[in-house]
Symmetry: C2
Subunit: 234 residues, 2 copies
């Protein structure tokens, strides 16, 4: 492998990382704006989130296409190959984060003005935490910072704990006030979507670890979301 | 490109298709068994579904790894490259189908014996439809049959229609009988998971079209799920 090839590959990698930063910026904006739209009951803002979905999907396809071209053209091996595979995986997680934010924005439009303010505290907290984990893990990815990625990976339990408590709270609220059931069901799905956004940040942390070290994070994943196994008796 | 290279590439492709058939078989079994576990209220069967999740995840990684090796080693272009990218995409959709079936199995365990039988009809119907679309689209993939893939793609609306009606039914039921809210909330998520399994079958149909023709299905995607935009006053 000559000097010229190394330089060209490095330029390819920088280009992939730049595209992922751009896509990550769109993902962060979609998460932040969909939650703000829910807090403020702002269907106009929710519509602007919906309009970003095509952009994040397009970026994912462009990153995947560019990565495939790099693999075919440069035939990278070992850590170089992991870098390119890492880009494909992160782009996929970011696209799914966009989908989840998009689904929450749709629910804002469905909810109109009927969100009970008291129920929003837990969702705001989940959203802030999801967003902060997303920002940290994207920085860890750009800087190939394994230690920072592990910090994000370990913090997955916090958002799950918020989700569990919000899930119980919403179920109780539905029981107390059956007229709230339609709205609360939407909020159950919003909370689940935020919890899944947190999972994708965890996936990205695992990808950073894999890209840099070549190893899979083997420690048991810190999965504390128990809402799908909560007894139905509430 | 000499004869030997073509043959080796064809063998690689056959190997990828074989792995996807295997993974598809696991996905079908997870979907069928998780629904049967829900119908029969059989937590033992649900546990067996959970145990299949590691298998489907491993198969996805193996397919992705094998596909990357093929791209690096053979440098395929045009339709050959699309074949390999298609394998990566289908493996990803099947892994996500496994996750969704796995989540439904967890909910069976959470529900114990409290599923109201009347509510199961809609879920059984959704599951049968999702399973039938999954089988058809996997056959279409193995046979590279675009016409069959388009039939699956066009049928996406049926499962969404079932989901919409079940969603409304469950919300009404929750309002009528607040004691059912915990169980019904789990069933809302089970229904949503089946609807998303249907979406992944649609994705696979789009991948078959892309692999064979090189074009993206441009017609507006037949998206009829309106539960996330249903007015909350419902």
């Amino acid at each position: 492998v000559n000097e010229h090839t190394i330089t060209a590959f490095d330029a390819d990698l920088r280009n992939l990382t730049r595209m992922i930063s751009e896509q990550g910026g769109v993902a962060e904006k979609m998460v932040a704006d969909s939650t703000e739209a829910l807090s403020r009951r702002d269907p106009g803002l929710a519509c602007r989130v919906l309009s970003m979905d095509a952009t994040i999907d397009l970026l994912q396809r462009e990153i995947e296409d560019a990565a495939i071209v790099v693999i075919a053209k440069r035939q990278p091996v070992a850590s170089d190959l992991r870098e390119v595979i890492g880009a494909i995986r992160v782009a996929n997680d970011l696209e799914r984060i966009g989908d989840l934010a998009n689904n929450n924005a749709k629910r804002v439009i469905a909810l109109g003005g009927v969100v009970p303010v008291a129920r929003m505290t837990g969702l705001d907290a989940m959203s802030l935490l999801a967003l902060s984990r997303l920002k940290s893990v994207l920085t860890a990815f750009v800087q190939r910072d394994v230690a920072a990625a592990i910090v994000v990976w370990r913090s997955d339990g916090e958002i799950d704990a918020l989700h569990n408590s919000l899930f119980r709270e919403l179920i109780t609220y539905m029981m107390e006030d059956p007229r709230s059931i339609g709205a609360s069901a939407h909020l159950l799905f919003c909370a689940k979507n935020l919890e899944r956004i947190g999972d994708h940040a965890t996936n990205i942390a695992e990808t950073v670890h894999y890209v840099v070290t070549g190893n899979i994070l083997t420690e048991e994943r810190p999965k504390l979301d128990t809402t799908s196994v909560m007894p139905a008796e509430g």
